[in-house]
């Protein structure tokens, strides 16, 4: 009998304690990549300030899209999540996100004019703001100072012609196939900047297809030339090893690479630098990054919003920059000497002035696949540019008809 009473008391205690725990609000966050690993530092600070607990769940980038999708479909979502800029449109079109218009109107911290325009564009879908920019990523040219010097370039290639000439000379010096530029035949973030630099685009605001325009064709001709003349680095181990060995003296990538290269191949520190994109008509680059969103099915929207405001505050944006070196989306932060005096960060700042995002349309995923396929066929297969563009046009017609 006594045992039974004891058991009942224990069970009651457990139930009671779980009740008292739930008094403390906990917001759940889904985040990806390195960000997820380091977000706890900010979360602890947030908990100290507000008393709201934060539970960060890390998703690998490769599985994140389907995880979020199944979460949305099964209505098993956290309160807020970090969202890659190119994923905003499909989920917004699905109706997965909370419209943040009212929150933003009332907020003292989150205001549109505080952010880079290119970055703010990525949170807007159908004239409604579904997110708040967190950090931006912009692609620049990484290059080996010492190797380029050997072929007569004392600074980074400044134009398209110089870019081609530099890698051509390097390949003549080191042997064809022994060195090359890093270009991906399938990655649109790699290819699209060339189209933009030439004044073109893939579709316009009204979803007219622009791939048959001379700007696009010319960009594809230029891009595929590197592949056809065997000037693209092939068969390496990974970016870091190849950057060090000289197989890959030039490539385009985002700000996260800076600290990673310093960590992975410290031997070449001082022998490499970043530079703004080579110029054709412009130097336009790709701007991506991540935004904060609140799910429509979130349970703690108010608390989630206060976390977004917390992450947007200037001092916290700066602190995040110190942790991961990802570039603040809030313009004001860039005036801080920590950023303004860093020679590499300055390059990113300059590039941000001339950068755009891939079109924010829900069909982007399919457009991206079609683009990747046709560009690859032209670069690696025997398809000539005209035919490739013609086929891409037909693909896009099919995709956009729906």
């Amino acid at each position: 009998m006594r045992r039974k009473i004891l058991l009942i008391i224990m069970i009651l205690l457990i139930i009671l304690s779980s009740f008292s725990f739930s008094q403390v609000k906990t917001i759940k966050i889904w985040a990806m990549g390195e960000e997820a690993k380091n977000l706890n530092i900010m979360a602890e600070k947030f908990t100290k300030e507000t008393g709201i607990k934060v539970d960060v769940q890390a998703l690998p980038w490769t599985a994140a899209f389907s995880k979020i999708l199944t979460g949305v479909a099964g209505r098993q979502v956290p309160d807020l999540a970090m969202m890659g800029t190119t994923w905003m449109a499909p989920f917004a079109a699905m109706g997965a996100f909370e419209d943040l218009g009212n929150y933003i109107a009332k907020s003292k911290v989150v205001k549109q004019e505080k952010f880079f325009p290119g970055s703010w564009e990525t949170v807007v879908y159908n004239n409604k703001a579904y997110g708040v920019p967190w950090y931006v990523d912009v692609r620049v040219l990484y290059y080996r100072i010492d190797m380029l010097k050997e072929v007569g370039y004392n600074k980074a290639p400044d134009t398209w012609d110089e870019l081609y000439d530099a890698i051509k000379k390097l390949s003549q010096k080191y042997g064809v196939g022994k060195t090359g530029i890093g270009l991906s035949p399938t990655e649109p973030a790699n290819f699209m900047p060339f189209v933009w630099q030439n004044g073109g685009d893939i579709i316009d605001k009204n979803k007219n297809i622009l791939v048959k325009n001379p700007e696009f064709v010319e960009a594809l001709e230029f891009y595929s030339k590197f592949f056809k003349e065997n000037l693209v680095a092939k068969g390496g181990a990974n970016v870091f090893v190849d950057f060090e060995s000289g197989l890959l003296p030039m490539f385009f990538s985002g700000p996260w690479m800076v600290s990673m290269i310093k960590e992975q191949v410290p031997k070449i520190t001082g022998k490499w630098m970043v530079s703004v994109m080579p110029k054709k008509k412009t130097r336009t680059s790709f701007v991506g990054g991540s935004n904060w969103i609140i799910f429509k099915d979130a349970k703690n929207k108010k608390e989630a919003w206060s976390f977004i405001e917390f992450m947007t505050r200037t001092e916290n944006q700066l602190e995040w920059y110190k942790i991961l070196r990802s570039l603040p989306a809030v313009k004001e932060v860039w005036e801080n000497p920590e950023l303004a005096n860093d020679p590499m960060t300055r390059v990113f700042r300059e590039q941000l002035e001339d950068a755009k995002s891939t079109p924010i349309v829900p069909e982007w995923d399919k457009i991206e696949t079609a683009l990747g396929r046709r560009v690859e066929e032209v670069c690696l297969g025997n398809r000539d540019v005209k035919e490739g563009v013609e086929l891409l046009y037909k693909d896009l017609q099919k995709i956009l008809r729906k």
Binding site: M94, A237, P362, D365, R373, L380
Partner: protein
């Protein structure tokens, strides 16, 4: 009798239930999905789904990537199928001979690839096949053969995939053949020898007919397995370069779980089912497997 029914339900009920929930139900759902345009946007709002009847099937049959995937899959099948049977049969013979030493050791060695996860194997293979640092190119270098880009050249990529597939499949099929060989009565060979039959004749008139049931089983299973080629190209090449290793199931996966066009992917699955069914039917009817 009533007791018996309860016994039966008790014993096969759980697995029957699981089969129902995880196999039969999804099959029916997928069949239904194949006549709809169910996609990512219909997730939250099911009313956005339309019944499109056979439109998906028409689209699939007009899809040049699908046909490319079919061609690739059958190319892999035609290469891998005889190779697998030949090598598993060969190793089965060698390891069934009384004169062979360390039989168990060799059996273990040949079976090992199929107990390792394909994912891990593919990672190792992708390094072996790496054009700059790979073992294979290093080895070929001794014979003066220039380094090849095994995985990024359209000519080699599928062959690399096939090599991995065959290498993995030899083990279990060899075991089946060994079991089949051991099931053939020794007396048949003895009497054949007395009658003056040579080795070749013994193989042709005793071994092969004796192996028929095993051969049928192996070829049906291989046919089903190879038409569902997925893990190897998914891990090794991702379907590239230029879609030269894109298999039907990989295409289905891309359509279903990358583009989230579930209706379309279900139609592809259904067409694949018909193909496998047809192939298996032909195999069952083939004369070499009949008594």
């Amino acid at each position: 009798m009533r007791n018996r029914i309860w016994e039966i339900i008790l014993f096969i009920g759980p697995s029957l239930l699981l089969l129902l929930i995880f196999t039969v139900l999804p099959v029916i759902t997928s069949l239904f999905l194949s006549i709809t345009d169910f996609n990512a946007y219909s997730f939250l709002d099911w009313s956005k789904t339309n019944i499109v009847w056979i439109q998906n099937f028409i689209d699939v049959l007009h899809d040049d990537l699908f046909w490319k995937a079919v061609l690739n899959t059958f190319y892999a099948f035609i290469l891998a199928y005889p190779l697998t049977i030949f090598f598993s049969l060969l190793f089965a013979f060698l390891l069934n001979r009384e004169e062979t030493y360390f039989k168990n050791f060799f059996r273990l060695l040949i079976y090992l690839p199929s107990v390792t996860s394909t994912i891990a194997i593919a990672v190792v293979w992708s390094w072996i096949l790496n054009p700059k640092y790979g073992l294979l190119n290093w080895f070929l270098g001794f014979f003066g053969i220039p380094p090849q880009e095994w995985l990024s050249n359209t000519r080699w990529a599928m062959l690399a995939v096939v090599a991995l597939v065959v290498w993995k499949a030899i083990g279990p099929n060899m075991l089946l053949f060994i079991a089949g060989l051991q099931g053939i009565p020794e007396e048949l060979y003895e009497s054949a020898e007395i009658d003056g039959a040579n080795r070749w004749q013994q193989f042709w008139y005793i071994t092969l007919p004796g192996l028929r049931p095993v051969l049928l089983f192996v070829s049906v299973m291989l046919g089903i397995g190879y038409l569902q080629l997925f893990e190897e190209p998914y891990m090794l090449t991702g379907g590239g370069p230029l879609n030269s290793t894109l298999s039907i199931v990989l295409y289905l996966y891309q359509k279903g779980f990358k583009a989230f066009e579930f209706g379309y992917a279900s139609s592809v699955a259904f067409i694949l089912f018909i193909m496998i069914f047809g192939l298996t039917y032909i195999q069952m009817k083939m004369r070499i497997y009949q008594d």
